[in-house]
């Protein structure tokens, strides 16, 4: 299978998913990946990590599926479903075909943190085996949205 490069969806610091305070992500139950602790000021634009179809779009999370079937999940913060979309603005619709790097959601990570929730953003290669995914950014480093994060091949 051709290697698929997954871009960082938000600007922030790369975090190991095992550090994410949610068992679904930390244990890789839906797939392997990395997480990004978004920058409070510049982390508010979430972009498509790959080119493909938006198969799921919630205010706080989305899934983009490549034409070969591989799909990447981006979750903006933990337990943010509880916010009911407040503070999140979507800029696309389910079914849209988008190019990687397109802004899909704008939000305010600092406000999520002020509300007592984690703003960390898991980026998951859905249903991939752990050895299919390699990191292109190191844990603890800063990435800009649109920079390479993972390779899935």
């Amino acid at each position: 299978m051709t290697a698929l490069t997954v871009l960082a969806p938000v600007t922030g610091t790369v975090v190991d998913v095992s550090e994410v305070d949610d068992p679904v992500f930390s244990a890789g139950l839906v797939g392997p990946g990395l997480a990004i602790e978004p920058d409070g000021v510049r982390g508010g634009e979430a972009v498509a990590p790959i080119t493909g179809t938006i198969v799921k779009l919630h205010p706080h999370a989305f899934v983009v599926q490549h034409e070969d079937g591989r799909a990447v999940l981006v979750h903006l913060g933990i337990d943010t479903v509880r916010l009911g979309g407040e503070g999140f603005t979507t800029h696309a619709s389910e079914g849209d075909v988008v190019r990687r790097g397109t802004v899909l959601v704008t939000w305010d990570p600092a406000a999520v943190r002020d509300g007592g929730r984690s703003a960390v953003c898991p980026v998951v290669a859905l249903e991939a085996t752990p050895d299919a995914v390699d990191r292109l950014a190191q844990v603890g480093t800063m990435v800009e949205h649109g920079e390479d994060l993972l390779t899935w091949g």
Binding site: K56, A61, L73
Partner: protein, 76 residues
Amino acid sequence: MSKAQQILDALGGDDNIVDLEPCITRLRVEVEDPAKVNDAGLTAAGAIAVVRSGIAIQVIVGPEADTLASDIEDLR
């Protein structure tokens, strides 16, 4: 039996469900009595995992959570 029906049954049936909402990869369920939830039944129905915290049960099902939740709602 449909997957939705199997999950509904393993959650203890309609009467045991206080609230059920999907979130991308999981069903977040609040139940009346957690003892009536059958973890083995949920995994047999295709759940990847079950995460419990008191009356809050998370059934990890993958990206089909939205579809499953609406199928379950239709059965209730």
